[in-house]
Homo-oligomer: 207 residues x 6
């Protein structure tokens, strides 16, 4: 392991350290994680910094990716994969998390095929050009993120009224909860977004 601690707040665009904590040598990863890391690096063309930051804690990394897989890759009529990413963008912005807003903003652009919507959701989801269903989803999700006691049974019923299934409704809460965790790890370890994320999904040829 090598330590990132002697770098003062590294510049993410200049090869700075991806975490305030020790970085594991990829060669020492357990096989299941090594395979996943190699796979994501091959598909993306770079290793997202959250992977690098979690590598020294294999059990937490494994649970983290399991939650991601359970919540983010489903495409249901009530909540598409792109809409799931917009929940991440809106709640991560409410938590001031640059890593998640930039990285998941990129994924949202790719999955919604909309090059500008995620930027608008990140700053002011209320005025973003979304249908009523997604306004309701983001209203509940952002309140769960910043003032969780305010979410009531009536809020969940409102989501059901917009056509979300019981599973979709749970996913709204669980995605928000999972990124409540993710945002705080990214803040605590000061994980910067990889520079590549900023441009992904902005040009017609992207992806």
């Amino acid at each position: 392991m090598r330590s990132a601690d002697d770098h003062a707040e590294p510049h993410p665009a200049a090869g700075g350290a991806p975490s305030r904590f020790p970085l594991a040598d990829p060669a020492g990863l357990p096989p299941d994680l090594a395979e996943r890391y190699a796979d994501v690096e091959e598909r993306s063309g770079f290793l997202p910094n959250v992977f690098a930051a979690l590598a020294w804690r294999p059990d937490e990394a494994r649970a983290f990716f399991a939650l991601n897989d359970a919540l983010m890759d489903k495409d249901t009529p009530g909540l598409s994969t792109g809409e799931r990413e917009l929940i991440v963008v809106a709640t991560s912005a409410a938590n001031d998390c640059a890593y998640c807003v930039v990285a998941h903003g990129a994924i949202a652009r790719i999955r919604t095929k909309d090059p500008t919507l995620a930027d608008l959701v990140a700053v002011d989801w209320r005025k973003a050009p979304l249908e009523a269903r997604m306004h309701a989803v983001l209203d509940v999700a952002v309140r769960l993120a910043v003032e969780p006691a305010s979410v009531t049974a009536a809020d969940l019923d409102r989501l059901r009224g917009h056509g979300l299934t019981e599973d979709d409704v749970w996913d709204v809460g669980a995605i928000t909860a999972f990124f409540g965790l993710s945002n705080r790890l990214a803040h605590f370890a000061a994980i910067p977004p990889n520079p590549e994320f900023h441009l992904l999904g902005r040009l017609p040829r992207s992806r």
Copy 2:
């Protein structure tokens, strides 16, 4: 599966439903989870409601318990198991989460062998009779919980200055982040604390 949805805000002390979402039949749990559920129920004498609430989502339940095991059961010189529970109590109180304050307040009483400290930490950790190290830990943890962008590299150095290792410091952040997730799930699903938790660890004979 049976649905909890037709109960209006059930009374937790009166056999109310442990979640706003469907409850899985324990007989249908995957074997690894079935074993864990049986084990916790035998050791505790009851099944904590968070187990019941997560059963319909086995992958999330598994990741949830993996995070718990990775973070909460370590007993290090810098951060004992009882002190880890106090981080949960303080940050869950900041998030107004009755399930986590009551359930982890009980565990904290048992692990710290102090029948009153967790109650004080839950309402005002600043005046709770804790040593300077734990005041620093809770100051950082509670800010990470409610205003995550305010946590700086200097805050982490302060924890190191109190004798926490690199692993201990990460655990402060990761415990707070994990219960940031847990608190939001408990709010969203309206998981009530089991009545048994309220008295645990309060009497000399407890445990």
Copy 3:
């Protein structure tokens, strides 16, 4: 008089000082107060710390107890003594006051004969198993405690609509106002709850 000032944040469970300010010798109390102090100590088995902390200011102590007597001991159809204590618990929790949450949580358990309800009200009154009348009462009381300008004539009418008399409605406001005072004195003087309060009313034999 002896001073509490040279004790650094005493541990309340270890015989620590009940106040940051001078403590009056009970022998020097005016007769009316001496009688009240002896009476409460005999009935409770211990002298609640707020009594000790106020003793050096007899005029304020007298007014403080007069307000308590005028507001807390009435048992009306619209607002029972137990419900009055729950107002204290909810608003004192909103003000982060450990003394009042713990001490009045104990009294609430005794008066409501419910060993768990006060704990739930202290953390998240919104999900506590209360009838609609008490949800309305606590909604108004907590807003009066933390954002007083937001309470409107319509809020008072809502309480009347739940069957509270003119006197009951005033009491909701006056109890909240009185504990707004009490919470701030307890914070300022750092009055710790007596350890005895934590267990009161939790066991069938209590009281």
Copy 4:
């Protein structure tokens, strides 16, 4: 008794009702209160509305005035009567209480003999032309009013460092606590300031 309830938010400058609650007939007041009411009305030339609003609750009125007398009329080297009124103005402004800001702004003008200082303290005490001692006093008082858990033993020591005695320091906290009560009663009952207060102490001939 006559009820004020059928008046919709009366105009205070137009003879509107002094409270949302019943108003007691002055003729029915207990003798000690009747004497005090007559006295204040004679000295002021009008009956301040808080007297009218409290009349239907003689025990609370008596305790309220006792607290006022115990805290507001002392003139010590560490805290003059005018400075005590400025604590009321600053903390009542933080609580958005028009009755207390206007009524005690008038008293502050008279007691400090400064026709403009109270207006400045009401809006932004930080920039008001006060000496360092009073800046420290108002910093502690306003935090006790709006975020009471943030007041520490170090804050009290700072006040002692500015020459306040143990009694003066307590008074800073007790005045803030008492007006925490008073502000909430005035909000709850919607007590308007008497129009006469607005001009008091503004002209050389005032008083």
Copy 5:
């Protein structure tokens, strides 16, 4: 130019400096500004400190007064000049700006011919004796001042429903926005209100 920087927080009532920044020699003002400054000083009997503070930046001063002229001097059925000043008072109070509350409180007293209303609006506009139209106006304006993302198309429709024209509605927003600028300049430069403002419009003979 002479500098105000060596004065520590000057007392505004004692001839203190009107700004933390350099003060331009009036003789050096461009002719159009010189004329305006002379005119306002002649009409008011004194030069309001915001004029003095802006003099070293003629282009900004000119734009500032142009915005004032475009927004504040119109007298429409939906929004009188006095009501425009009350928007300034309420939003400036929400921003804790003593200069604007005191100076525009004076202008509001003169224009509304009401000697007490502005004081009430400054502390708690919700209880101030205003008609429903102005309650709606101030509700929208104060939210735009402190939580601008919360203002919706429905809020604007509500103002139209109270008879405000398209121009009047814009003016509500633009006045609030302009004093959002003005309040921040006054805070940043620590511009004190001239002592003369405190008494203006309070006496029958005023103006």
Copy 6:
């Protein structure tokens, strides 16, 4: 004039209306504004929506652009044009203003020649890779934007200590104040950013 009012929250990327208020026919603009509008449209390749939204109020438009010209185009050693844009990005993000964050994010990318820095400043300026001088500038500016009373003389001295001249320091405050106005107008009129802004300055060939 044509009205934008019958469009429900138009999609900015789909030719939606640039304002909730009437849009002036460009042919009717006063000559000086007509020239400016033509010039900006020619240089940018499109007319930024804030120009379209302000056209129906020529006096306000003129003052608005005058403030922009006085504050944003200066390139001083203490505060470059790119750094001025970053102040706009950080404070506009604190005000949740999508128009200003997206439009001035684009200008910041062009002027700083950094394709990713503005995105980081928009979400969490504290962790953005900036030198100490700019951290101090943004700390003061963001507090002035959201909690203006908290800015003290010591804050201004800190900026001077980082080499800002008296003019630079004023500009920090005045830029923040001006965009305090601009953000509120953009919220009130619901001005969407032109789609072109999202990609500007992201590619090497940009500009």
